[in-house]
Amino acid sequence: MAGDLMAGEPDPDVAREAIEYCYEQGWTDGLPVVPASPELVDQFLAQTDRAPDEVLWRMDHLNTECTVQTAAINAAMAGCLPEYFPVVLAAWDAVMLDRAAKGGGWQSTSGPAPLIVVNGPIRHQLELNCTGGIFAGGFRPNATIPRALGLMMRNAFGVAPHVFDQTTQGIPGRWAICFGENEEESPWEPLATEMGLEPGANAVSCTLTRTFEFVDNRHTQDPEQLLWDFADTISRTGVMIFRTQSAGIVLCPEHAQMLADAGYAKTDVKDWLVEHCGRVEADLRHAGKDAVSEGGHGARCAGEHERVPGDVFSPFMPGRESVPIVVAGARNAAISMVFRVFGEWSNSSVAVETTNLIAAVSDAGG
């Protein structure tokens, strides 16, 4: 009879029972998780030299912490393969370089999303998508590595929705934003190299983000027109809550190549954006964001009276260091993504530490 279990085949009813058990414990983000056995978790732990009981991070105010072993359990549950685990650990370390992540960012009403970028040959070893559809799903490491961080936040740190996570609406795909840089089609050095790591290093860079918006500009040959288009999108008043706001761009290869062909180094692009992103006083006044509160933490608010003439320009970006730019996506159309940084980008990358065993295997294979 069709549907009979053959010898050696997994039993779907047993699998479902185990998945439902995890739901009942409150261990899932809404989607099914992989029930983690000690044997599976050991495979994850074998991928790192870090001790299972090493504390990755402690949230003193919530009296919670996450060890390497707890991270491994959550990564297994997220659907990661064991060999993804060093990237999960590096992604965690990278996101925690962000000041907002160390503070109350995870409890914030903004519900910031970690943006995780991977550099180096490990992208190909793990089959991490770097090209078409980097934000669109469909690839196991891209989907499961950020999900592992989300499960760690929920399960290990206890920051769950409606309780310590006070997200008002959040960001679509909050725990699903991870891709490799398209180093092969980028005209510039990889992000991790720019951040000072050895060329060719396996590395993760991460920042917390609060909105994504794409810029579709495929009919100009003028790099300045393209940059104006980015600046217009970056300079929206809606996302401004403080005096300044950092933003970055995930450039598609076509846009990056066009800028590079016109002689722009990545730093030139950053400097251009720092100079041109912002709004005039009249626009800020229309949105009730022309004044900066003295009494609070510098939140923008409506001014009681006109402070400066309406045509005075306020730049939004604090400086070159606050503009992460990375190249990813397919080279099939000129569509790039602008994202706003939640707090302050760490402007650094974290090397992926693999065990000697894995390094030897990849050398032999390379």
Binding site: G103, G104, Q107, G295, H297
Partner: protein
């Protein structure tokens, strides 16, 4: 061989907490010095100052000291708790008006109570779930705090004054109620 599914929380079963014994209260607030711990959120300082103003008129409180908590998302550092406790007989804390600062305001209230200084915490009513959860984490389940309707950040100074008027009686009751215990 069957093995148990591994627990991803890393936590062991919590013991039932002993709860929080509140600091002893003055019989009334007359002449009592008041510390204000503001978290830097929009309107927080004005709100607390207006509350202190009402307490001065209605309860003839003494000195008022204002301190700013620099990191709104985290509980107050021990030095600040020491300093404000030394400088004042009772403290008013607020305003919990965001995801992290509401929880940390509750943690601050518990810190001051354990330090022996009566505290009144004011929190927006949109954040009671996270405030109550923090009380549990701080082993002070059921810790009583004062709510004001959400939102607070967008209020005009006149509206802030009205809100302060509305909560002042409860603040006074919390600070002066001798021997009040949490559930």
């Amino acid at each position: 061989m069957t093995t148990a599914i591994m627990d991803p929380t890393g936590r062991t079963e919590k013991q039932a907490s002993a709860g929080l014994a509140l600091a002893s209260r003055p019989a009334d607030l007359s002449g009592v010095s008041v510390g204000l711990l503001e978290n830097g959120k929009q309107n927080a300082r004005l709100f607390l100052e207006e509350v202190a103003g009402v307490l001065r008129v209605r309860h003839r409180v003494g000195d008022v000291q204002l301190r700013r908590k620099e990191v709104f998302s985290a509980p107050a550092p021990p030095e600040l708790v020491d300093e404000l406790s030394a400088a004042s007989d009772v403290v008013v804390i607020g305003v919990g008006d965001c995801g992290s600062c509401s929880a940390s305001a509750i943690a601050d209230g518990v810190l001051f109570e354990r330090h022996g200084t009566p505290a009144a915490v004011i929190c927006s009513d949109a954040f009671t779930a996270t405030a109550d959860a923090m009380a549990e984490v701080q082993e002070a389940p059921g810790y009583h705090y004062i709510t004001t309707p959400h939102p607070v950040a967008g209020l005009t100074p006149g509206q802030v004054r009205d809100r302060a008027e509305q909560v002042a009686a409860e603040v006074a009751e919390v600070l002066a109620a001798q021997g009040r215990q949490v559930a």
